[in-house]
Structure formats: structure tokens, C-alpha cells
């Protein structure tokens, strides 16, 4: 009986030390450098497999283990949920507002307030807006060029929902997967890109 106890506690020690081992010295020192503030809690430093893989400069630059890359894209693909009512397009005018706003999810933003999409931070969208970034590709004439076949519509939804399904280390946030945008907000952004009446497609 005593022997069994010893064995159990030995196993516990091993389990405990492996869980400590799981965090590298870098991760420990890195975590110790931060404090939670508002909605920006310490859990934000706990990386998922995608974030771990893309923290490697080689992987970020498109290199790294191709099998791992494929597995990450597959896992992200599996997270994508098509809109619950089968409706993909909302109001492009609302979409423009969401695309303009880069607010949300920082420690100075009030938790629970709707986030912006921050789309113009990185993309050209409506050409009339000259203050746009260039980290992502231009989306001007997005729907006009691609049409709005089922395949295009579903791909676009998927890309907004979880960009990492198509490119493991894309710089684009996973808007649906991390609930940065609601389903309704995503429908509005979809309309901005795909609605033939949207100024983007003129």
C-alpha cells in the first residue's frame, strides 16, 4: 500500500515537472514581463499551434516544415462555420463602417463593445478612401473581378472567418474564429466586397 502511494507521488512529480518543462525559459521570462490589463488577460500569451508555428521567422516567411503547414491549414479549415441561416451578404454600407474602424480588443477598449474589422489598416478597398495600408492585397473591384459564384462566396466567407485555413501564417487576423467580428458583421463586410451595388465593385 505504501509502495503504491510512493509510485503515485513519483508519477505526480514526473507529470508536474513535464508540465513545467513545457514552458521554455524564454516563455517563462516573456510571460513574467507582462501583466493583465482590462480585457487583455495573460491568457493572450498562451499560443495555439498556429501561433507557435508562425512565431518561427522561417515559417512566417513561407518556409518551415511543409507537412506542419498543411496540418495547420487543415485544422484551421475545420473551424470555419458557414453562416447559420445560409445568408452570406448583408449591407455594404454597414460593411464600410466596419472596414473603417480599427477599434477593439486592446486593454484600453471596453470589453463587450463591438470591434471594428480594421480592414483599411492593411487593404485598399473603396478607392475613394486614400488612407489605406498595404500589408494585405488591394480589394478594389473584388466582386467585379471574381463574380459571386458559390465557390467565391464561400471562399471569401472562409477567408474572413479564418484566414489561416488558406495560408498558415497569413498576417490577417482570424475574424470569425476568434470572434473578433460577429456573424452579422462578417455578412456586412462580405457585402462590401461582393454586392454588385457596393462602391467597391463600380
Amino acid at each position: 500500500m505504501k509502495k503504491l502511494h510512493l509510485m503515485i507521488s513519483a508519477a505526480l512529480v514526473v507529470a508536474a515537472s513535464t508540465s513545467v518543462m513545457a514552458q521554455s525559459k524564454f516563455e517563462k521570462d516573456h510571460t513574467a514581463s507582462f501583466k493583465a490589463n482590462g480585457q487583455a488577460g495573460m491568457d493572450r500569451l498562451e499560443r495555439d499551434d498556429t501561433q507557435k508555428f508562425c512565431s518561427d521567422p522561417a515559417a512566417l516567411a513561407g518556409k518551415g516544415d511543409p507537412k506542419k503547414r498543411e496540418a495547420i491549414e487543415k485544422a484551421n479549415m475545420a473551424t470555419i462555420k458557414q453562416p447559420s441561416d445560409g445568408k452570406y451578404l448583408g449591407d455594404w454600407k454597414e460593411g464600410e463602417k466596419i472596414a473603417q474602424s480599427g477599434r477593439g480588443a486592446t486593454w484600453t477598449d471596453k470589453a463587450g463593445t463591438p470591434n471594428g474589422g480594421g480592414c483599411y489598416n492593411c487593404h485598399q478597398i473603396n478607392k475613394k478612401e486614400i488612407s489605406h495600408g498595404n500589408i494585405g492585397p488591394s480589394l478594389w473591384n473584388y466582386g467585379k473581378v471574381r463574380g459571386n459564384s458559390e465557390a467565391v462566396v464561400q471562399y471569401t466567407w472562409g477567408k474572413i472567418y479564418n484566414s489561416k485555413a488558406y495560408n498558415a501564417c497569413s498576417n490577417m487576423p482570424r475574424m470569425g474564429h476568434y470572434k473578433l467580428l460577429t456573424e452579422d458583421q462578417m455578412r456586412h463586410v462580405m457585402a462590401l466586397l461582393l454586392d454588385p451595388a457596393s462602391p467597391v465593385n463600380q
Binding site: D29, F34, K35, W107, G133, Y178, L180
Partner: protein, 266 residues
């Protein structure tokens, strides 16, 4: 004369703050920089910092004039060009701000924790920021020469590089999301490629800076703090390892670039 010039600066500055909201902010800032040439509102902070440096104060009623910023007690000229660096007395790699706090603690008897826990521009932290303005001005025009020789400096460089690429938070951002490629912008704001000497010098060489859009002087710690805020990370603790490690990484990458501090930024 200097006062008159400074108030004229402040007037044009507040006009500029309005302009900075305009869409061609980058161009306007460039024009503004030319306009005021050698006059930067950071001068006000620099003058205050010089007073704080030489005035006896604190529980020990001592000045900072014997503070060793790495080039010997009291040497200010060129000190920030070689920071962060390893200090034997603390057995730590320290940046300018953490080193000033060490001096305030050891020479003047202030409570370091209190300064670290205060917010930016709050309490004694405000004095640290002014002293920063004073010290960095004394390296203007010099070459960036952050050492990576001591084993602890090498450790911090390695940590800085890892931290630079560390992705996290709900938006999957790392420093590299914005600062690892040439010619990128957020909206109209140019983003220096910090993995490259030229880009690193553009970033590291111009901070600390007077920030036109917020109308105040920002130290490097504050600059990094706001980067992390926008990265949607938790808040970096003032003068924590990650902040110093990133400065070592940027400073080493920027080697031989010219120091233009205090800069003038959007």
C-alpha cells in the same frame, strides 16, 4: 527668447495636431519637421530633465550627477548611444529608463517599485521621462552602438529576437506582423522593417520622440508599451525583461545608424 520660441512652437504644434488627423499625415509631418528644423517641443522636457539631473532631491537629498549611465559617473554625452548595456553593479542589462531608476533608488533613495508601478507621466515616473529627454539629446548625431558582447547582453538579444517574432493574442500579431517587410504601411503610416539595419535605425534612431498626435514626449518604454497595446497583448511591465530585450535587438540591428533623438513623430 527661448521661451518665446517655445511658445511659438507650441502654437504651431497644436495646429499641427489638427493637421495630423488629415489624410496626408505623413507628408504634413515631413513638412512640419522641416519647418521647425532644430526646434522640437521635446526641448521643454529636455530643459526640465537637466534641472532634475542636477538638483539634490529625494530621501537622500542627492542629485543624479554621479549617476553612471555606462560611461562613468556623471557622463551623459554619448551614453544613450550605447544603451541598453550590461551593468556590473546590478548584474543586469539595463536600458536608459531602468538605469535612471537604479540611480534614483541608489543615489537619491527613491522607491524603484513605486516608479515602476506608476503610469506614464505619473509621479516620479514623470521625472524619469524628463531625464530621458535630457540624456538622449546629448547623443544626437552620434552612431548607434548597442553592445552585444557580455553573455547577458547576448542572452537579451536572443530574447529580443524571439519576442519580436512571438505571435499571440486574438489577432495573431507579433512585432513582425508589421515590421518585418520593406515598404509596408498601416493606413498611411510607414512601417520600418526592423529586421533590417536601415529600418531598425529608422525606428530605434528616432525614439524617444515628441509625439505630435498626443502632444507629449514618449520614451522608448512608452513606445513599446503602445505597440503591445495595439498588438492586443497584455500590458508589458515597465522596464521588464521583454522591453529591454527588444531594445537590445533593435539597437543591435540598427548598429551604426544615426541617432536623431529626441525625434518628432506623428
Amino acid at each position: 527668447m527661448k521661451k518665446a520660441m517655445n511658445s511659438a512652437l507650441l502654437v504651431s504644434l497644436s495646429m499641427m495636431a489638427g493637421l495630423a488627423m488629415a489624410q496626408s499625415a505623413t507628408d504634413d509631418i515631413a513638412k512640419y519637421r522641416e519647418m521647425i528644423a532644430d526646434g522640437n517641443p521635446a526641448e521643454l522636457y529636455e530643459a526640465a530633465g537637466e534641472d532634475i539631473w542636477s538638483k539634490p532631491m529625494g530621501p537622500k537629498n542627492a542629485s543624479l550627477e554621479k549617476c553612471d549611465l555606462g560611461k562613468g559617473p556623471g557622463v551623459v554625452k554619448g551614453a544613450s548611444a550605447e544603451l541598453p548595456r550590461y551593468f556590473k553593479d546590478t548584474n543586469k542589462v539595463q536600458d536608459l529608463e531602468s538605469r535612471i531608476i537604479t540611480c534614483m533608488e541608489k543615489l537619491q533613495g527613491y522607491d524603484a517599485k513605486e516608479i515602476i508601478n506608476a503610469g506614464f507621466e505619473k509621479g516620479k515616473r514623470k521625472d524619469v521621462e524628463a531625464v530621458v529627454a535630457y540624456v538622449v539629446t546629448a547623443s544626437k548625431g552620434m552612431k548607434i552602438n548597442v553592445p552585444v558582447k557580455h553573455p547577458k547582453e547576448k542572452e537579451m538579444y536572443a530574447m529580443g529576437e524571439k519576442a519580436f517574432f512571438f505571435q499571440g493574442g486574438p489577432m495573431d500579431f507579433s512585432c513582425a506582423s508589421c515590421h518585418a517587410e520593406d515598404g509596408k504601411r498601416i493606413r498611411l503610416q510607414d512601417l520600418p522593417n526592423i529586421t533590417d539595419q536601415k529600418g531598425a535605425a529608422l525606428g530605434f534612431g528616432y525614439w524617444p520622440a515628441y509625439r505630435v498626435s498626443s502632444g507629449n514626449f514618449w520614451t522608448m518604454q512608452r513606445r513599446l508599451n503602445d505597440c503591445y497595446r495595439q498588438q492586443r497583448f497584455p500590458e508589458p511591465i515597465y522596464t521588464s525583461d521583454v522591453t529591454i530585450a527588444l531594445s537590445v535587438y533593435m539597437g543591435a540591428k540598427a548598429k551604426d545608424g544615426v541617432i536623431n533623438t529626441p525625434g518628432l513623430k506623428r
